[in-house]
């Protein structure tokens, strides 16, 4: 999954200059809201104050836009919601399976029936502590739950159980390396906080748009919300940050990190300011991006939209609002304008006791943590691999495991990496297979590489054998003997 996404990023690298987008759509950006029926009223208010941008089509304009982008700096912060794959929901014993029939995994508690009370699933704490440690956070040994209050049909209790002023983890960071095609380089992004909360249900809008239905299967599913510092400056940095979160979630086994299913959701805050200015500009929230490449594109689009407004002296048209990424139109559009600051009237959840961690508990979890992507990357680098190789390898745990066992069996590190990321990856891509589905074993790959390195067979013959093995399996020795492929020395 992750590798797919990073491939997506690469193919759209031209979008790093997103001003070109403006050329494709000559006209006015309207706030359209048909996609969310229930937001109708808010939309009507929003429409009256719609920002209008005249876009230009000339190519000289494109170049000017590029130049213009350089005069501004974007500031990006991300809120990531990670759905936890615990057996039961956060506050009741209902299971959650994506794609179940609507309202089949519900009970009085997650439906918010009168008199029902939450009971806390301690597995959620374990996940939160794992992720908190993996993100180098400080843990709150005593934290509590709070109620975040708002009305919406997918929120059964009229409040979401969340954590407000004392999140379970805070003040951490992630280290990551940018892919070379995006200029490479090491980045460290701050993590403001990680807190536990429950998911809401889902609204299903009728085709005619005349009514909506509520599915509460997802209501009460545990989430971890990760809030980053506003440390990112470009769409690719933001997308790489999100990809790193996804890797961590998967390495830790706390969730499946699947963006299409909504198990990993990113809300991005974007603002721009003239280069050199220290105050932040007005921030705009973007939602509805269901892939890393969509994130990348949406952010770059939003940056250039804001820069353009700045440049046209219309910076006041940038308002605090939530915009949706429209994948079809490849643009962001107003979803709702914020009428002042939302007041969620947080207060401590009286139905749940405080969450108290002990040193022993934290230490036992720390000891059980698997090797994390960042540690693995450093280890691979020390084995002599390039940053680029490391990034590609560690992106997919299966590929990574394959590589590691081949090396364990004695394969040359550099050659194993090259073969896996070259010919094997190409084959996998063509055949749409995962590395676990091919006949070739790490053992045989190691044999093959040794045979070439030892001068027993030539590189060319080695490649032939490789493809045969991928498709049919077998041992290298047998093939060499059978076909008498030993290289004459």
């Amino acid at each position: 999954m992750a590798s797919l996404c990073s491939r997506g990023l690469r193919t759209h690298s031209s979008l790093l200059c997103p001003s070109s987008l403006f050329t494709t759509r000559n006209g006015v950006f309207f706030c359209t809201m048909q996609n969310t029926q229930t937001e109708k009223t808010k939309t009507r208010i929003g429409n009256t104050k719609t920002t209008q941008i005249k876009a230009s089509t000339s190519t000289t304009q494109v170049r000017e836009n590029e130049k213009m982008l350089n005069d501004y700096e974007a500031v990006i912060g991300i809120e990531t919601h990670v759905q936890l794959s615990t057996l039961t929901k956060a506050f009741c014993s209902c299971p959650y399976n994506y794609g179940s029939q609507p309202n089949t995994t519900v009970c009085p508690i997650c439906m918010g029936l009168p008199g029902a009370l939450p009971i806390f699933n301690s597995k959620v704490i374990e996940c939160a502590v794992k992720l908190g440690l993996a993100l180098n956070c400080k843990l709150a040994m005593t934290s509590k739950f709070d109620r975040k209050q708002y009305f919406y049909p997918d929120l059964p209790k009229g409040y979401q159980i969340s954590q407000f002023d004392i999140p379970i983890a805070s003040d951490g960071y992630v280290d990551l390396d940018l892919p070379l095609e995006f200029g490479g380089g090491h980045r460290k992004f701050g993590i403001t906080r990680v807190h536990m909360e429950e998911d809401a249900g889902k609204l299903m809008h009728s085709g005619t748009g005349t009514y909506s239905q509520v599915d509460l299967n997802r209501a009460g599913v545990p989430l971890l919300e990760i809030v980053s510092e506003p440390d990112m400056r470009t769409g690719i940095e933001a997308a790489e940050y999100a990809a790193e979160i996804q890797r961590l979630v998967r390495y830790l086994g706390v969730g499946n990190g699947n963006m299409q299913e909504g198990s990993l959701r990113c809300d991005v805050n974007v603002s721009v300011r003239p280069t050199g200015q220290t105050e932040y500009g007005t921030k705009v929230e973007i939602k509805n991006m269901n892939s890393f490449s969509a994130m990348h594109k949406a952010i770059d689009f939003e940056i250039s939209r804001q820069v353009l407004l700045h440049n046209q002296g219309q910076a006041d048209q940038i308002v605090q609002e939530t915009r949706l990424w429209e994948e079809g139109a490849q643009k962001t559009a107003t979803m709702r304008k914020k009428e002042g600051l939302a007041d969620y009237r947080y207060f401590p959840e009286p139905d749940l006791p405080e969450v108290v961690l002990t040193e022993d508990y934290v230490e036992s979890i720390r000891a059980s943590l698997p090797e994390l992507p960042e540690m693995k990357n450093r280890r691979f680098e020390n084995m002599g691999l390039s940053v680029q190789d490391v990034l590609l390898l560690s992106n997919d745990t299966n590929v990574c495991n394959f590589f590691e066992s081949a090396v364990d069996k004695g394969a040359d590190v550099k050659m194993a990496a090259n073969w896996i990321m070259g010919d094997i990856a190409a084959y996998l891509k063509n055949e749409k297979l995962s590395i676990t589905e091919i006949k070739l074993t790490p053992q045989e790959l190691a044999e093959l590489i040794s045979s070439i390195k030892g001068g027993i067979i030539s590189g060319k013959i080695g490649k032939d054998i490789l493809f045969e093995h991928i498709a049919k399996g077998g041992t290298v020795k047998a093939v060499i003997e059978e076909k008498d492929l030993v290289q004459a020395s």
Partner: protein
């Protein structure tokens, strides 16, 4: 489940009572001036009036059990008797929002069990009323609110489940102020319950239906809920025993939340013993309530000592603190004198009574109203007309929410939601909410800490604390309806106990003038955390030795 009847002492007690065999006791406690100022003439006159027909209350539950086990009576006969009384009195009292159709059927099942010599639960054949905010699968549960009209829960509250397991027959759902917000039942979305002692007066609230039903003997005992005095004040107004247990003693699962950090399910009975048996049946840890206590539940009723065996000073050495702040301004004089007379009675029983001061007492009321309104504004958010309850016909979402809530909630509930929303709003939260837990003028979370501390201090010097349960006897319907502040002020005696999470027992201790036969006054006894056993023991001795008072309302007597 412990069967109280198996305790020989209780059995003995019960037999004694049936033979009207009481130890002679001094009959003029109410004139006693040992401790404090003399009782007012009004209370004295009334007490004397009722002197002639006195017998301490007996445990209805044990009586029923004995007659069933001895096959003297059938469960259907007992049920019939109560149902008949209910039918006769209900048009006047209006204590029930729903009467079960299954009472006779369930009574028959009990009789069958007896025929087959099967094990009987402690509450077998006992008719129990359940406050309408406690969920019952087979009866509507509306919390007294139109927004939940005809709502039938999908599950039984834990307390209800335990009652059913004990063999109780649920007679119906009792009237209440909407979601517990009120002190008279006048804020019910459906009807106003009358006080059986004087039908022109309120029964108190919010558990007014339960108190009136027990007082009028429409049922043997009843469940109520107490957030700021909703069990104790109606118990006082209706002359029945009311128990507010320690927060966490009884599971709240299935109790429609008003203010989650203060809510407890409580019990009503016509004697301390009945209240104790009922409390024992519903107490205990529940995995469905994270705030319920894991503490073991003692056998409350089996600790009771028969009056026969009482020494002359059965409460010798018990230190009783009478809360000074509850006897001052704003408390009716006759109430004060009745409570002082009750204190004298305790002295007669061997207690040492001294006055204690709770400096934070007056802070409790505003802090309570801020905390309770704040929590209720949140707890009542789920009544949005989307999933259950009355749904307004609306074209779009905002009107669906607002119309459903506007039509469904009554004015008192709306007012408290607005107050709570205001108190939790940005900029006000620190000023109000945080204070309520400490003090309104200091910040409401702080007040709470202060109240807890001052109770703790007072309970270090004393075994129990006493006070009136309400500053007045039952007042006339409509009297305070348009004066919410006067009604809120009536909660002053009880709210502090909820803020501190402590147990308190209210039992009738005398009368004041009013109505055709006088109006009962309740004495509140407050104990330390999880000290229900002590309160019930003291309450039982107090009740059994209190001469000259019979708390059967004229309607029944």
């Amino acid at each position: 489940m412990i069967s109280a009847i198996q305790n020989p002492r209780i059995q003995f007690l019960f037999q004694c009572r049936y033979q009207f065999n009481f130890p002679p006791k001094a009959r003029h406690f109410h004139r006693s001036t040992v401790l404090l100022n003399s009782a007012s003439s009004s209370s004295r006159v009334l007490t004397e009036k009722t002197l002639t027909s006195t017998s301490p209350p007996t445990s209805e539950i044990l009586t029923i059990r004995k007659s069933l086990l001895s096959r003297e009576r059938k469960a259907v006969e007992i049920a019939e008797e109560y149902l008949n009384r209910l039918r006769v009195t209900e048009p006047t009292i209006k204590s029930f929002l729903h009467v079960s159709e299954n009472v006779m059927k369930e009574a028959e099942e009990i009789d069958l069990k007896i025929e087959r010599n099967e094990e009987l639960g402690v509450l077998a054949g006992v008719l129990i009323g359940v406050k309408d905010n406690i969920c019952t699968v087979d009866m509507p549960s509306t919390g007294g609110s139109r927004i939940l009209q005809d709502y039938r829960p999908a599950y039984d509250a834990t307390a209800v489940k335990k009652l059913k397991e004990s063999g109780a027959i649920l007679v119906g759902k009792t009237n209440m102020d909407e979601f517990g917000m009120g002190s008279t039942t006048e804020a019910s979305g459906y009807q106003v319950t009358a006080n059986p002692w004087d039908v022109s007066r309120v029964p108190g609230g919010s558990s007014g239906g339960s108190a009136a039903a027990v007082s009028a003997r429409q049922c043997v005992a009843a469940l109520g809920s107490d957030t700021g005095g909703s069990v104790r004040q109606p118990a006082s107004f209706c002359g029945v025993v009311g128990m507010k247990p320690t927060y966490g003693r009884v599971s709240r699962f299935g109790l429609m939340a008003y203010a989650s950090s203060l809510d407890v399910i409580g019990c009503f009975g016509s004697s301390v013993a009945d209240t104790a048996i009922l409390l024992e049946a519903i107490s205990g840890h529940d995995i469905f309530d994270a705030t319920s206590s894991k503490r073991e539940v003692p056998s409350f009723a089996s600790q009771f000592i028969s009056t026969e065996l009482l020494e002359s000073k059965p409460l010798k050495g018990l230190r009783v603190g009478i809360i000074g702040e509850t006897l001052g301004d704003g408390v009716d004089k006759p109430v004060v004198s009745t409570i002082k007379a009750a204190a004298s009675h305790l002295e007669e029983l061997g207690c040492t009574v001294s006055e204690v001061s709770l400096p934070s007492f007056s802070l409790g009321l505003p802090a309570y109203y801020i905390l309770a309104s704040s929590e209720s504004s949140s707890n009542l958010s789920r009544y949005d007309g989307v999933r259950y309850g009355n749904q307004a016909a609306a074209e779009e979402l905002n009107s669906l929410h607002s119309d459903s809530r506007c039509n469904g909630f009554g004015p008192e509930v709306k007012m408290r939601i607005l107050m709570g929303t205001y108190a939790l709003s940005a900029g006000y939260y620190d000023a109000y909410y945080k204070r309520a837990q400490q003090i309104v003028i200091l910040p409401s979370v702080l007040v709470r800490t202060l109240v807890q501390k001052s109770f703790k201090d007072a309970l270090r010097e004393n075994d129990i604390l006493i006070s009136p349960a309400a500053p007045s006897a039952a007042y006339k319907m409509g009297e305070k309806k348009n004066d919410p502040l006067a009604m809120y002020a009536g909660d002053i005696m009880t709210v502090n106990v909820n803020l501190a999470g402590l147990p308190a027992l209210v039992l009738p201790c005398g009368f004041v003038e009013g109505g055709p036969a006088g109006l009962p006054i309740g004495l509140q006894m407050i104990g330390g955390q999880f000290d229900e056993g002590k309160l019930l023991r003291v309450g039982h001795i107090f009740e059994q030795t209190l001469q000259g008072c019979r708390f059967n309302p004229p309607l029944v007597a």
